[in-house]
Symmetry: C2
Amino acid sequence: MGSVIDSSTSLLAAQTHDIVRFAMGAPAAEVIPTDEFRRLAGEVLDDSSFTYGATEGEPGLLETIIELSAQTGRPTRPERIVVTSGGMQGLDIAFKLFVDPGDLVVVESPTYTNGSGTALSYGAEILEIPMDDDGMDIEALEAQVGELGRTPRLIYTIPNFQNPSGTTLSLERRKRLLELAHEWGSVILDDDPYGELRFAGQEVPSFAELSPEDPLVLSVRTFSKVLAPGLRVGWVDADPRLRDLVIAAKQAMDTCTNVPNQHVVERFIRQGGYQEHLEGLRTEYRRRKEAMDASIARHLGNRVVTTDPQGGFFLWVTLQGEDARISTSRLFEIALAEGVAFIPGPALSPSGRFQDAFRLCFASSTPERTEEGLQRLARALDIARAELGG
Amino acid sequence: MGSVIDSSTSLLAAQTHDIVRFAMGAPAAEVIPTDEFRRLAGEVLDDSSFTYGATEGEPGLLETIIELSAQTGRPTRPERIVVTSGGMQGLDIAFKLFVDPGDLVVVESPTYTNGSGTALSYGAEILEIPMDDDGMDIEALEAQVGELGRTPRLIYTIPNFQNPSGTTLSLERRKRLLELAHEWGSVILDDDPYGELRFAGQEVPSFAELSPEDPLVLSVRTFSKVLAPGLRVGWVDADPRLRDLVIAAKQAMDTCTNVPNQHVVERFIRQGGYQEHLEGLRTEYRRRKEAMDASIARHLGNRVVTTDPQGGFFLWVTLQGEDARISTSRLFEIALAEGVAFIPGPALSPSGRFQDAFRLCFASSTPERTEEGLQRLARALDIARAELGG
């Protein structure tokens, strides 16, 4: 599990001083408006912030989400929205509603294993579909489902700047995936934490835009990556026919999402400057991604091939040539001792694939730290290679 | 579902002015230290409040919970504690870990139906056990399990000032329940949101005190009733052998509990005055409970029998004589029109028992409002009685 490794990394980091944490999946500390949140909390919290909130979310925040969605050109409606305790709870709700023991669930390979882990917790059987630079390989999906002779109950995808690969599902493939979902009666679980963080290339229409009012599309959104993960505020955008089910599932999980942070998020967005905040994130993350590309080229050169994300937090590194014999799980141990952390490939695949690959997060480190981290990673790679006797 | 009715009540209340809300399960608005929380939020929140927290909870809050438990004479240990997003998530974790489809789950009758609803969502078969003034009838439990010829996987109990009955499980019965749990290999899910709110009588030892280091006892605790429900901060106290399972389950639900409120709760407790805060709650809730007793005696007299809680929020009202023919579901509709709300009995039993009973919350209304509410309730009862042609 990605986050399990993240937290063990944190423990180790307490012992190993000055670690470069490419393993984190959190926004850069520098871009979280901490002072502003603290100021707003001291200002907006009132009696209504501390009693039980409505399970579907605070009315003001629901309105704000509707207004935001209109501003970004992907309008939605109040009857489609339920506030959740971060994107993770959106995934929990979707898997809980749709997955019964033995149901087939399709995931991208590699994938966000906290998501696939939640599917497993409801008894899913997981089918991993390979990816390329255009996201999940839909032809491979069709072929594998055909071979199995069973259709999936749910297809879990992170269509934009996927975690962990950084790739984006192409328009053609989104359309084809919708066709297959309708043919099979499969739910598309569209998990999109990074969609607002595009810093290059052209936006691709969402599943909801391509297939409006579709009860087979359930979209999970969150403020974790664009505001702050500690808030635990996200939302589900789904067909109104699903809303009562979503609310009932959430009620049995945590009654309501914590109210003070809903009020702080609402005020942060309403006071203006939110689009400028997003623009600032895009500029900074593009700078950091380009810096990581440059550092990788300098220190790893043609020993690796990487993906080229147009947004988000992550890129995916695959070892080449003789280095491909190195286990990145072993490389992880060596790298930690050298003072740099990443997520090894096998932790990002339910069946432990990608022994020769790993995920790097460019979002959480400054260019200077990234340069230092890649130097350390190159040393770790040399040590791992020497261990192989290559 | 209790809370479903609560929220529909809120909607109606927006139309019906000046409703007396005996249906709420929330603390009195007057005793929530809103100004203090707002001040602390403006003071203590820093960078660490907005990034991902550890799934098991913020280290400072974990320490604070340990210190509190020592102060109250029921010491626990860090290896036993996981912070949760309110008590509801503690229940979700317990049912998710222990209940597979078809498993038998014992609940008190009446019970907190959001809890039994979560058990049902994991495929539990529910066995309802009657209660009397000493809590769940353990002889009846033994007899019913014997008749069924199947032992329960989990026994769900609210041992102190039970929601909705207000009764407390006696010491003898706690001991006997522990014996049966061990004989059957059943988990005791000890849900205790109200335990710190005893305002009369003698404290009864907890399951953890009666059976230390017992992997069959899982205790769910929360700050919702003693501080504020909107915070969504609670904890699970369980055998250390269960801790990794509890953490893994929580990680698949919401990654971590919202961090700012963990920091605010920690500071609120550490700054001193917490025991005085609890003492203030007990004094106020005793005053409100005694006021409700007096108003019931004045306006309902011998038309009802009520329980006599020694703490918590609720008392349970059973119609007597000819009034027992009234359906409290119908009475609820009439009462709403008269401007008073409660929870009808059938909403508090998975099989819809207790047509002749209802739950009142004495905690959320001042004595003056309670007097007004009972007058309205007496009018509603007269109307319902007239409808019967009695």
